[in-house]
Symmetry: C2
Amino acid sequence: MDPQRRQALTARAGILKAMAHPTRLHILEELAQGERCVCELHADTGADISTVSKHLSVLKNAGIVEDEKRGLQVFYRLRCPCILSFLGCVENVIQQNVDRQLAALGR
Amino acid sequence: MDPQRRQALTARAGILKAMAHPTRLHILEELAQGERCVCELHADTGADISTVSKHLSVLKNAGIVEDEKRGLQVFYRLRCPCILSFLGCVENVIQQNVDRQLAALGR
DNA sequence: TGGCTATTTGGTTATACTGCCAACCAGCCA
DNA sequence: TGGCTGGTTGGCAGTATAACCAAATAGCCA
């Protein structure tokens, strides 16, 4: 595989990896509805605030979200709202998995 | 967060996690063009064949691909071809990251 | 059956990710 | 200035991933 292709694949994988965590997906879905401060995300994920902060920095390093400090609070928002658009297909896969498991049970 | 939502998020994250590796993305892109046997994927990823086999089992466990043995060979194919449809947005994010880095340099 | 090819599995080592705690920093206000 | 609130950072322990090698398995054919 040539280095350029390798690099392109690594970049894409990096974005996916940043998204591939339940708490981070939850955060992204919240942000899809509008910007949120860290304390709000802390409240509705239930995770320790330092954990939330680290998740946010993962998302920020990946370039998926951006932040803005206003007074004491830091607000985060999606940089590309389209980022969640593929979840429809992910749901298809999951539904198929469920169907398959049911079929296996009934077998 | 209620357990059901937590579970849904974990399932989604699982799919993303399975995709979040350069070699596995490469494999998925190959499969998007049609089924391939392990040896073909081995040839064009350049990875050790046992490594390719393990990557394929990750994808299979996630329900993203399915396999079929025909003679000595095992062929893999995408279960949901739409799975790569979101890469367009991932590319947007990457392009923005590049732009941002360039801007930072020029600053 | 014996040997060959294609693939999977087990074991090992190195590396990376998570979550939690404690300490620290920044901005506001009395 | 001192103290408070909101967030970030560093460090640690536990867990999970990745790649490689060696060994095992499955199907074909002589």
